[in-house]
Symmetry: C2
Subunit: 221 residues, 2 copies
């Protein structure tokens, strides 16, 4: 259970209509595998994502997509992510040279706990980005994250496997989920093993002119 | 390809957030298996479903759910359904006594083509309901349905297996899909084998106060 003053939040997590949070066949060049940019393309034009340094060739959008996206960083002191969001699946770290997909100054600007069963020394980068590699249960990872950033909210950054684990452990207080109207066919499913999840949340949905559907899950009680 | 004057339409077909069009473990008492009434409960209060004889203990609703539901019968001269919408999975017809889940006067009031590999004589019931049992490809079933009701639109009534086959064969012109915010976990998946289906349709979504999301798929070109 989260303490009332430090919520566990999910933002901008996007799945296909058939429930995949990422495609198959992740590579160094394609972090989302065969899904390419199709899952996240709704977000690129938003002012929030453009401010993160993700450049779309359009003027920044400030409509409903941005209205949801912009809460991403508010009161967040730390992110927890899975190893495959940080790096391609590769077993033990081949060398410690890999520094993520985001260049020298990643968009997090907080400590980031990277879940992995393969030990690695912390990685300190520009802009307040420090990556701590951690092996443990979701509850242990959450306790560790809160030590790194006491009193702030914790963002679960994905991918699908990691988010699924935190939902299964009933550790998520708020989840902003985006459903993109595409059928990916293969990849990592978010919903597996989460039968009746809806009973633990109130759920509200809103459609966007971009074609995606925003869903807000708020933990009951 | 459908002829321009006889469209192939889907209405009110409902899936869970994890993509199931029906639950697991269908029985005589529970046509939707463990899903019970959870998939279709959005529809019961609508005037359209109440007029079909599905009684909800509430005044008929005429909001967005009914606005979508009511197009169900317009210019429809025939429905095609899978055998498991008509009867529980049971191999050959145990006897010809089973007459569907709908009582003596089913809500279709047209010929209905029931896809099944097990032969059975046509069944004529009250209210213009005649069930024709047919073994063949989706294209063959469609040609047969059009012979039964020339010049009208054809409704694909489901279940998931049947709808998936018609989508795979690119025979659907319009599809009204409803996404219910529930995680069923098991059952029959609609989207399997339909990767990139979205490229063949324009898709528009709308949310309802009942919590479901209505999606309209219209075949491009
Ligand atoms: N759809 C979205 O909005 C969204 C958001 C973020 C990321 N993504 C994408 O999602 C993909 C990654 O998702 P994914 O499901 O493949 O993987 P993931 O959740 O990012 O990472 C899974 C890996 O994390 C490690 N891990 C997870 N739980 C652990 C635990 N309790 N203890 C120790 N290690 C643990 C394991 O790595 P080891 O093998 O090292 O032990 C596991 O293989 C990437 O393509 C990313 O770009 C999508
Ligand atoms: N979600 C919704 O809106 C919705 C709508 C309608 C129904 N449903 C529910 O969906 C469930 C049924 O779905 P389902 O996916 O299990 O099955 P289904 O699509 O109703 O029926 C599948 C069966 O139809 C026969 N069939 C299908 N294609 C055929 C073909 N080309 N040629 C010959 N036979 C063919 C086969 O029966 P044989 O084994 O006899 O050969 C097959 O096992 C029911 O619970 C129903 O209540 C849901």
């Amino acid at each position: 259970m989260a303490s009332p003053t430090s919520r566990v939040r999910v933002h901008n997590f996007t799945i296909s209509l058939d429930g995949f949070g990422t495609g198959a066949d992740q590579t160094l060049k394609e972090p989302f595998g065969h899904a390419g940019t199709r899952l996240m393309s709704w977000a690129f034009p938003t002012r929030t994502f453009q401010n993160m340094g993700i450049h779309a060739d359009v003027p920044p959008s400030v409509g409903i997509d941005d209205a949801f996206a912009r809460h991403w960083g508010e009161n967040i002191g730390v992110e927890i992510m899975g190893r495959n969001k940080f790096a391609p699946k590769a077993g033990p770290w081949p060398n410690n040279g890999w520094q993520g997909w985001w260049g020298p100054n990643p968009p997090f600007h907080t400590p980031v706990v990277v879940l992995t069963s393969h030990p690695r020394e912390p990685l300190h980068m520009e802009g307040g980005n420090s990556f701590y590699f951690f092996n443990g249960t979701p509850a242990e990872a959450l306790a560790y994250a809160r030590e790194l950033a006491p009193g702030t909210d914790v963002r679960i950054g994905g991918g699908a496997t990691t988010l699924r684990e935190f939902l299964a452990a009933d550790l998520v207080d708020e989840m902003h989920l985006v459903v993109a109207p595409i059928i990916l066919g293969r990849g990592e499913r978010l919903w597996d093993g989460l039968e009746k999840l809806e009973e633990r949340f109130t759920i509200e949905s809103a459609t966007s002119p971009s074609g995606v559907i925003h869903m807000m899950f708020a933990r009951r009680g």
